[in-house]
Amino acid sequence: MTPQPIYLEEKLKEVQESGRLAYRSKSMPTWCPGCGYFSIVDGLPGALNDLGIAPKDAVVVSGIGCSSRFPFFVNTYGFHTLHGRVLPVATGIKTANDALTVIAVGGDGDGFAIGGGHVPHAARRNVDLTYLLFDNGIYGLTKGQTSPTSSVGFKTPTSPYENPDQPLNPLLMVLTYGATWVGQAYAGRPQQLETMIKQAIAHRGFSYLHILSPCVTFDKTDRTYVRLGDLVRDLPANHDKGDLGAALHLAMDTATPALGVFYETQRPTLADALDGLVEKAGGSVGQKRRTA
């Protein structure tokens, strides 16, 4: 693919006219230059804008970590919570107010180390929210320690000889936990990433988007743009996203990560289930909303 030339004035005009700037905060991201997360903070506004979700109706919830600073960089409602607790807080928000679009963001350590106990439950309950998992295989905010998705042999200040632990496979886990939309994207392919964020938000139910991203500051050897760019591949043309078995096989291939929607299905959300209880109890459905 030949790179297309970009003319700044034209690009600026295009962005200004698109309406997506309304979703960007005045606070500039605090990430290191070259961080993969910049494509995510560009992608979410585009996705929300395309879906016609107003900034006032979206809540971005995060845990703790580099990625979890995300809510400060978008102009929506935001809740920067505690390390590992993004999913239960997001569940509480969505349960209290169905009208909100809830986007949970966080890193690999936040979601699968300290917060690992919450992922199965958000998935099995099919809470109608989108979980964007920024996986750089490292603890960046604390200056580069091993994470639960770091490769065996990876050297960091807390594993100076080498990381002795097997990495987790979040995609495999989330598929078996019962998530109803599972996909993988790569920060080095921002346009595809934006499209997938849009699809994940549009999905009714728990959608999990695994985003591979390099940490340019603390990982110079393992997950660099060069290495990841070589490894990632497109989904096989014949992949059936309704086939859980096929999705599990895709997820098992960690050597050459596939990019795209692995799995998609429909079943009642947590809100549907809770409304069902209201009907069984003889009450009338309709959460009291104290919002304006």
């Binding site: 509480g92 107010n97 009338s284």
Partner: protein, 591 residues
């Protein structure tokens, strides 16, 4: 004639002991008496653990159970024998007359009854078998016998049996038959004791609730929107009751994966403006501490009910204790001020529950309501207010219309509470965070900002000490100078009031102050009370004297501690001994 009768029913788990106590207290409350009741049972569901149901039936307000029972029912000998001693002279002991198991010498109740006690041997098993063909209804036989012996109206009992066994087929019929068999026998028995029920009070329209049920009722009456919880003794029944009632009102309740998720979801829901709560015990509160800190930092309302049990660690899950005062007030890292309320009786559980939602919203902070197993499971007759005494919305109003770019979620105001934009409000977009932040909610670690925001978070709570229509503390008993003043909190207040009445009978000038709002602490009022006391006694069910520490830290004055960790409620006689001792010292000083 005043009535003041305490009945104890004693048996093994699975013999229907607790069920009999439940029917008895409901029937007597239905008849118009005041009842206060507390059951003791083992941690095992089935097996041979001892169960004791105790209820005190009165026409005047009572505040705790009595030292001595007037009537004891022994459903089996082994568990009954240790309790014969608690029956007063000329009181009644009802026990199995025709045991079919061989009992060694000394292992039958009859051998332990003192001459001054009145024995009522009853063929409990046989009556049950003759009436229903099974021995299962023994508990109904003794209930009928009590009703017959003490000339109680049958109708309230029949009503409760009908309600309790509705839709359970033959069980209702069998229970009625067994009750009637017991009743006839009781009515035909020559009564030798001096336990006499007077007529019930006129027009007492009370309902029978335990502390946890009262909490649930308070939540519902305050318009709770969401409840999130994880089962733990002794708080679980709050969630169980809400699980039945909330869906009927279109509200949502969710059992979460752990206590951390329970408080996280509660705070998430609170952030949207919903009234939300969770309930737990000490171990759960320990897990919640970090998230409560976020609630304080991000100024998000939430309500946490905590029913204390024996600790630390897993401790004694089915026994009562007041040892979580410290974690409730101070738990968590950083300067983390919060509101802590500790109701002292069942009605207080209702009021504190409802008011907790008001305060959480008004002061934008977590509110902890501290009960204990004794209060959670203690039944009392409560006269409910005609309409819920709670404000449906206490949020500080935000300006109407688009809030625009200048909106300051954490803006400094006169009362240090900032108007809160809720997700969905136009122009109110902002981020709340556990990081120190400026008025806009943006991260700010400047020294001046951290000091100003710390002050805001602390000072905004001061107004809670004047929160309207709430009893923050209350003084009972003698006015002015007293020999002994008792400072008490939580479930122990009932026993302290009974002690005060005894002290008055013995000529000791005595007053009690109960403190319901533990944080922020009503220092001035407590210090003023202490000024009036020659000696201050602080009885509490913990080893360290956590409330005593708090009083001393807040007022800088010494107190006399009295601490017990027996897992059971404080004994009136034990506190009384302390009062007598202190009164003597006080008199010597005066002389």
């Amino acid at each position: 004639m005043k009535t003041d009768i305490q009945i104890a029913i004693c048996g093994s788990a699975g013999e229907g002991t607790i069920a009999a106590g439940d029917i008895l207290r409901n029937a007597l409350a239905g008849a118009g008496y005041r009842v206060i009741s507390f059951d003791a049972y083992p941690a095992e569901i089935r097996g041979f653990g001892k169960c004791v149901a105790r209820l005190r039936v009165t026409t005047e307000q009572a505040y705790s159970l009595k030292e001595k029972s007037d009537v004891l029912v022994c459903l089996n000998d082994e568990h009954g024998i240790p309790h014969v001693g608690e029956v007063r002279d000329f009181g009644a002991v009802i026990y199995e007359a025709k045991s079919i198991v061989h009992l060694a010498e000394g292992s039958h109740v009859s051998g332990h009854i003192r001459p001054a006690q009145v024995p009522y041997p009853l063929a409990i098993r046989e009556l049950s078998e003759r009436a229903t063909g099974a021995i299962r209804s023994r508990n109904m036989v003794v209930l009928g016998y009590i009703a017959g012996l003490f000339h109680l109206a049958k109708e309230p009992f029949e009503k409760i049996i009908n309600t309790k066994f509705k839709g359970k087929g033959k069980a209702a019929e069998d229970n009625h038959k067994a009750f009637d068999a017991g009743y006839e026998t009781g009515a035909a028995t020559f009564k030798l004791d001096d336990v006499n029920f007077g007529p019930p009070g006129k027009g007492l329209q009370a309902v029978m609730l335990n502390g946890n049920a009262a909490v649930a009722k308070g939540c519902l009456d305050a318009g709770i929107d969401n409840f999130f919880g994880y089962p733990i003794t002794p708080a679980t029944t709050i969630m169980e009751r809400l699980a039945v009632e909330m869906p009927k009102r279109g509200k949502r309740l969710l059992q979460t994966e752990d206590e951390i998720a329970a408080i996280s979801t509660t705070i998430g829901a609170g952030y949207t403006g919903a009234r939300s709560a969770t309930a737990t015990s000490g171990p759960g509160l320990a897990l919640m501490s970090e998230m409560l800190g976020l609630g304080i930092m991000a100024e998000v309302p939430s309500v946490v009910f905590v029913s204390q049990r024996g600790g630390p660690s897993t401790g004694i899950p089915t026994k009562t204790e007041q040892s979580d005062l410290n974690i409730a007030i101070y738990g968590g890292h950083g300067d983390a001020p919060r509101i802590v309320l500790a109701p002292t009786n069942v009605e207080g559980c209702y009021r504190c529950a409802g008011k907790a939602f008001e305060m959480a919203e008004r002061y934008q902070t977590p509110v902890i309501v501290l009960l204990d197993l004794y209060l959670s499971n203690r039944y009392e007759t409560v006269v409910m207010p005609a309409k819920p005494p709670f404000e449906p919305n206490c949020d500080k109003p935000v300006p109407k219309g688009d809030l625009g770019a200048g909106y300051k979620r954490f803006g400094f105001t006169e009362d240090d509470v900032s108007p809160r934009a809720l997700p969905g409000m136009a122009g109110g977009m902002h981020v709340v965070t556990g990081l120190e932040h400026n008025e806009l909610g943006r991260v700010n670690e400047q020294p001046e900002m951290h000091e100003a925001m710390s002050r805001k978070r602390h000072d905004k709570l001061k107004a809670a000490l004047q929160h309207p229509d709430f009893t923050h503390y209350k003084r009972f008993g003698d006015e002015g100078r007293v020999d002994v003043g008792i400072l008490a909190w939580g479930s122990t207040v009932g026993e302290c009031l009974e002690v005060m009445f005894l002290a008055h009978l013995e000529g000791i000038a005595c007053a009690v102050m109960k403190v319901v709002m533990l944080s922020p602490f009503p220092t001035e009022a407590v210090a003023a009370f202490m000024d009036d006391c020659d000696a201050v006694l602080v009885p509490e069910l913990n080893y360290q004297g956590q409330f005593a520490h708090l009083i001393q830290a807040e007022t800088g004055r010494p107190v006399h501690r009295y601490n017990r960790v027996t897992g059971t409620p404080m004994r009136v006689e034990d506190i009384m001994a302390q009062v007598r001792r202190l009164a003597k010292t006080a008199t010597r000083k005066a002389a």
